[in-house]
Symmetry: D2
Subunit: 268 residues, 4 copies
Amino acid sequence: DQPLFLIAGPCVVESEQLALDSAGELKEICRTLAIPFVYKSSFDKANRSSHHSFRGPGLEAGLRILEQVRREIGVPVLTDVHEDTPLNEVAAVVDLLQTPAFLCRQTNFIQSVARQGLPVNIKKGQFLAPWDMVHVAEKARAVGNQRILVCERGVSFGYNNLVCDMRSLAALRQSGSPVVFDATHSVQLPGGQGTVSGGQREFIPVLARAAVAAGVCGVFMETHPRPDEALSDGPNSWPLARMRSLLEMLKEIDSGVKRRGLIELEPA
Amino acid sequence: DQPLFLIAGPCVVESEQLALDSAGELKEICRTLAIPFVYKSSFDKANRSSHHSFRGPGLEAGLRILEQVRREIGVPVLTDVHEDTPLNEVAAVVDLLQTPAFLCRQTNFIQSVARQGLPVNIKKGQFLAPWDMVHVAEKARAVGNQRILVCERGVSFGYNNLVCDMRSLAALRQSGSPVVFDATHSVQLPGGQGTVSGGQREFIPVLARAAVAAGVCGVFMETHPRPDEALSDGPNSWPLARMRSLLEMLKEIDSGVKRRGLIELEPA
Amino acid sequence: DQPLFLIAGPCVVESEQLALDSAGELKEICRTLAIPFVYKSSFDKANRSSHHSFRGPGLEAGLRILEQVRREIGVPVLTDVHEDTPLNEVAAVVDLLQTPAFLCRQTNFIQSVARQGLPVNIKKGQFLAPWDMVHVAEKARAVGNQRILVCERGVSFGYNNLVCDMRSLAALRQSGSPVVFDATHSVQLPGGQGTVSGGQREFIPVLARAAVAAGVCGVFMETHPRPDEALSDGPNSWPLARMRSLLEMLKEIDSGVKRRGLIELEPA
Amino acid sequence: DQPLFLIAGPCVVESEQLALDSAGELKEICRTLAIPFVYKSSFDKANRSSHHSFRGPGLEAGLRILEQVRREIGVPVLTDVHEDTPLNEVAAVVDLLQTPAFLCRQTNFIQSVARQGLPVNIKKGQFLAPWDMVHVAEKARAVGNQRILVCERGVSFGYNNLVCDMRSLAALRQSGSPVVFDATHSVQLPGGQGTVSGGQREFIPVLARAAVAAGVCGVFMETHPRPDEALSDGPNSWPLARMRSLLEMLKEIDSGVKRRGLIELEPA
């Protein structure tokens, strides 16, 4: 019943300037809308379709910039970790960790991340039924971390396409963890442009509105001042300049839905 | 930009009493919420999973009761027609016609129904991509009927399951026809109980909220005072006693969304 | 345990000459390979994606040519019927009837076709689980026709794509009816070229070999001397000139599989 | 054009006795059928649905037994490695490495495994289109290892179900790597029994026959003398006592298909 929060930022850390500017702008938008905000950006894209694609600044440079965002802009920071990330180095810098959808079934990995003690946003695999996330969240909590979030980002639907099943957002509540909706990876077309993934940016507001009305705790969105020039996931990034109007709408839907309560949970 | 309308009623005409009572109650709820209302019920379930299931009262008795609802309750009435329905007999009684999802690609059938001159709600096939409904709507309009609605009701997702792709609601607008969301067939589990279809009634509000927030002209819902005793589609019918609270919520979401406008349609 | 049979021919009746020539050539190939052969062609394509596409010569001209093939070439003939076909006129001419996949759940239609007394090849809907074909075959047999065949032709897999689940061929045996595999519609990309369906002709031999090895009674294939000029379903038609080599392969697989028996049916 | 090879063994190393017995029996069957054979077993099941399930004997004990199989039975041995496996310890003992489907997009992991210099069997992700395996194989070869195999094991099809697309086996050939078909994980029902995955053992022969007829270089199968008592993946393991009859059938199909050649590859 808490108001909607936002996790947002450029997909990958492109430069110090972009990081500080986008974090500052997002912080200001969220402040005026009373939306709790977490800045997100990746230091390494560890599972690109092709090994020729840009992977990011790497651990050291990436963490340095994220630390700077945290200190200078004054916002909590999230980043995603991978199968071979030195977890303690990352955990020393950021406020939340995130695990990739492809890795949600790797028991050791999930538990190693959870052991860092930070809140963890676990993305649901594109291959996983929503009710099977109960076991994933349990694996994470079994090492003593109760601050686990579960995140829907679309499920495989034929080839090179994902579909967002809004029933999933209700089913994921059974995991006992706050549910986050990733509105930008959900419009990804995996591998849809040959050597890179495509995306349907125009559907981001449709899915974001739908998910917030379905009832979620938070929304995750990748954003960029110039999506067409983004070094990663541009096709499914939302333009920063249009973020405020989208969030205003989501905030209003969220308020109405949470004020009235989710009637599917009431006894018949 | 018109406010949300509702098409609702028990799946099949079970009795005169049920028809009049449910129509009266729905009319009253919609009046207080300023939701335009169309009563829906079927005289014949022509595509049951098994030929042992209840099919309805048949054409003559069914039309007599629908005519009575129309006259005594004073609401417009919709019913669905099938491959061998005498269309002119039905069209003489009801206000809107509806075509089944399985039949959306049958050119002669769609055009014969459209030729009756009434508004037609065309359900999208469970096998059809949303952008392919453009051709279906065009077939219908080609015989001179401009009052065509297109209706999403879920798409095949593995076996005995459907998923509602909210992107579809945006894509269907390209057909040039008002978009309706069928919130109850969308939670059907086709063939999911062996000889009959199952359903996930608990997800109806989730999907209905999501679809209205995505942006639709109308919502379609099957309802029953006692869904567990319904003679058809009970598992995916919404309890009549809980219709008001659900519609209040949908009305609020719809107002907010339409007041602000669907930002995905604005120029970047 | 009967040897593999073949149902084949051009998708639609294009001309008398094409019909006689292709029937003659197919008959000769099948004779030398000892493959029982049924000629297939449609007089009307009743569910084209767009109403602008070629539909065929119509009932009268189409039946005249099919009758001619039957008489002059001396092969049994199959054609498909639709929601508004005068069934008795067609049944008076051909040897087998076929029902479209989209119509497999229409109880009245399936039973009307079965009542004609001819063998009926019922195509499984793209939206149907294989075990649900039991009910469809039962509907047909309930009117007294025991000569029912069930036919797999792919199941919806995301948008504009089908996938052939080879488990289905085993599951369909539970219907008590001979199982046919449609190797050419299975490579269709429904709606995949905008206003018409596309196809992946290159995968026809892969799927045909796989299905015959999985174990089927018959194979269905659309063929054309010049697929790129075909008036319907060219992208998923197999070139007539390459039919012999494909059938030789299928015949060999079929013989081996049926000689050894399908070991999944033996008790463990 | 090489004759079919087999990768087979119990899913997990349960005991020294089971390992030696099953390896010996499989070796003998394959010798009489002239099928090149690789023994497979896992020392650690790193991605079980639930963290309560049996994971295996662990690295040290597992490798000791695999080494014993290799030496005493005289067969090459394959095992799978995970995100945190000490790769050089494993590579020092086995003949081939295998990577899990969930991890196929992790660039560092795939390249670290390939750098060990052994042949690597890369399983295709349940979320991946077959043509996107080209990039995965390229990533592996980019570190200098040319002995890469690609393996189909089913693709997500709705929830808790997989489907095997036989077109994939043809499409995977474009990766330039030998194609392996995993006939037992392909009948898995992921998460299908609540806390564990289910399986449809009865469909293993259907899919294996189909895949060999479609055309593959090798088949992968998990087997167990008493599948119902297996400590992992029992529901989708093939009974060891019935392995010979299944392989006889596959050998015959493979010989026929490879003798005639895959006609889809010939010029039209």
